[in-house]
Symmetry: C2
Subunit: 335 residues, 2 copies
DNA sequence: GATCTTTTTGCAACCGGTTGCAAAATGGTT
DNA sequence: AACCATTTTGCAACCGGTTGCAAAAAGATC
């Protein structure tokens, strides 16, 4: 149906190689030949079949984009940026929705079957071993939002979740809260574990501060709301560090339901600074994560690996900062 | 690097065809042969290269998923369902982010370059001509959330936006509002035009009802908020039909900012019934669109077209219904 | 114009698979 | 055991491209 190389060659009265060279950058073709071929090609509406080409070039220009966070609105932004950044570099994302799957084997096979040039794992919950599986099968891989480690087994781009935990604790303590709560995402998520670790670490420096710990079942509004409703039936902390903005927003909804005022009765600090956190009817104090930079950096990294597959793994960590809005009391003794 | 057909054939001591047949459903291979081949294959970790296969079978099992709504949270749900439904059928979505592009040519070329088996256009703003371009190039296409027409040029799955407009008008009128506002999405979007058409149509049956019309620049929170802030500087309507939930939520935020109470001072009705609309701090009265069914139906349709490319175009329209929450006054005279 | 160098072109093999066809193997009958 | 029908297998061509190599063409030099 579509015109092929051969059709163009016949029409232009030249060899197939000549046509191929016309459509390959950096190949040797005379101006005259190029014009002849391009004329025939445009008459036939020809453009080369990338998949056939990929057989010999070993480049499909497809990047596997693997995620399991299809319920957290921040990931719409993530997909937007990723697709956009990839497209600008002539790459196409092949999307994989992992849902609750945590075994990489099937995804690895899928990516191999399609000969993707590289894989981006966009998830803050999957362990490093997940992304490593791709590397073990010879695929370039970048784990975006992955667990920071000083000896990463694959490229990691994201934030230092442990430091964010500390930052949240410091901030709450500075505001005079003495009775703190941690409401994490799924307990098994690396981001939950790291944020808790930092949070706890900082609190241990302050013997008078108490800490209670709980987990939401997922990084979703419903899970955050459900967990906070449960907490509200018992003794509550004065302020909670929630694992993520969408959990925080769920928690806010639960608190409102229970007739508790924020920040007067309970303080909340989130993490991410998703667009919604700034909406007037939410106005969440949170830790800003520089999503855009993280994603650009991830794409640059995967692109670099296309030319240098054995590039030594690195961790690219971006600093976060607290965004003051309306869900925490003021700092005490400042100024 | 990866094992190929030839490697497996050599190891098993059989012909390449035999190996190929072992991995092709419905091909004729003896049990003995199959076992021999499968043993060699698993020893080598072989699985067939789908792209090479696609060259002869003309099936890549890739579906182009094209959208331009990367700022409306409902589309995260849309992507979730689409990827999931496609994966369950052994298909993979190749994602295209259109951003503000409205010319199909580049997307068409892209999809041809990758030889996708079919294309799903998921957008309520793109005109029918956009999706038709794919059909004109011989690709199966389904336009999800596309413009309903009684003589569709491509398969359309979605809702009847005109009827939704009427429904919104009827509902507002039944509640005794006489001074109505339409705050649409982008003026050029087919969904905006259709919703307005229905809204106007119904109002024209009621001479005492007045209507004012305005448009937000995009289907996004920010655009909805900005437009409502603008409206609040002039004479306001008693109740607004907003083009979409996310616009409505933006509008709610603007109203709150202006010290206006909802529904006491201004009524709002949205469209979509996204998850967020049910959150306690939003609690939006809206028109429910059966997203899940629409997407399942879209996927079924594209799958059917793989076997029957010239299937006669049809429009599959799903009914919507009003979900009563807290942003409109009660109906008047109803019991 | 002859000779040498450089550029352009085509041939043919290859990338990793599938498939029509005919030959070989198998199985069933008598 | 001979014959025939059926199933299984391998050969070779093909899918739509790329590319190393050598031949042909073009350009440079004298």
């Amino acid at each position: 149906m579509n015109a092929t190389l051969k059709d163009v060659a016949e029409r232009a009265g030249v060899s197939r190689s000549a046509v191929s060279r016309t459509f390959t950058d950096g190949a040797s073709v005379s101006e005259k030949m190029r014009r002849k071929v391009e004329k025939a090609a445009s008459e036939l509406g020809y453009s080369p079949n990338l998949l056939a080409r990929s057989l010999t070039t070993r480049r499909t220009k497809m990047i596997g984009l693997i995620s399991n966070n299809f319920h957290n609105p921040i990931f719409l932004t993530v997909f937007d940026r990723f697709t956009d950044a990839l497209q600008q570099r002539g790459l196409r994302p092949l999307l994989v929705n992992l849902s609750d799957e945590t075994d990489p084997q099937e995804s690895v096979r899928m990516m191999r079957d399609y000969s993707v040039d590289g894989v981006i794992v966009a998830s803050s919950t999957l362990p490093p071993g997940f992304s490593k599986a791709f590397r073990d099968h010879g695929m370039p891989v970048v784990h975006t939002f992955g667990q920071f480690s000083s000896a990463p087994s694959v490229h990691v781009v994201g934030i230092d979740n442990v430091e964010c935990g500390r930052m949240a604790a410091r901030s709450l303590i500075a505001r005079g809260y003495t009775n703190l709560g941690f409401m994490g995402g799924p307990e098994a998520a690396t981001s939950t574990q790291d944020r808790l670790a930092g949070f706890t670490q900082e609190i241990e420096n302050h013997p008078h501060i108490t800490l209670s710990i709980s987990y939401a079942a997922a990084y979703s509004f419903d899970a955050g709301r459900a967990e906070m409703l449960r907490l509200a039936t018992g003794n509550m902390a004065q302020a909670y560090f929630c694992g993520d903005d969408v959990l925080s927003i769920g928690a806010l909804s639960a608190l409102k339901d229970q007739g508790l005022r924020v920040p007067a009765d309970v303080g909340i600090i989130g993490l991410n600074d998703m667009e919604m956190a700034g909406w007037e009817n939410i106005n969440l104090t949170t830790i800003h994560q520089p999503i855009r930079q993280i994603i650009n950096s991830s794409v640059e990294l995967i692109v670099a690996m296309l030319d240098e597959p054995d590039r030594y793994p690195e961790a690219r960590i971006f600093p976060c900062e607290i965004v003051e809005r309306g869900t925490l009391g003021p700092e005490i003794g400042v100024k």
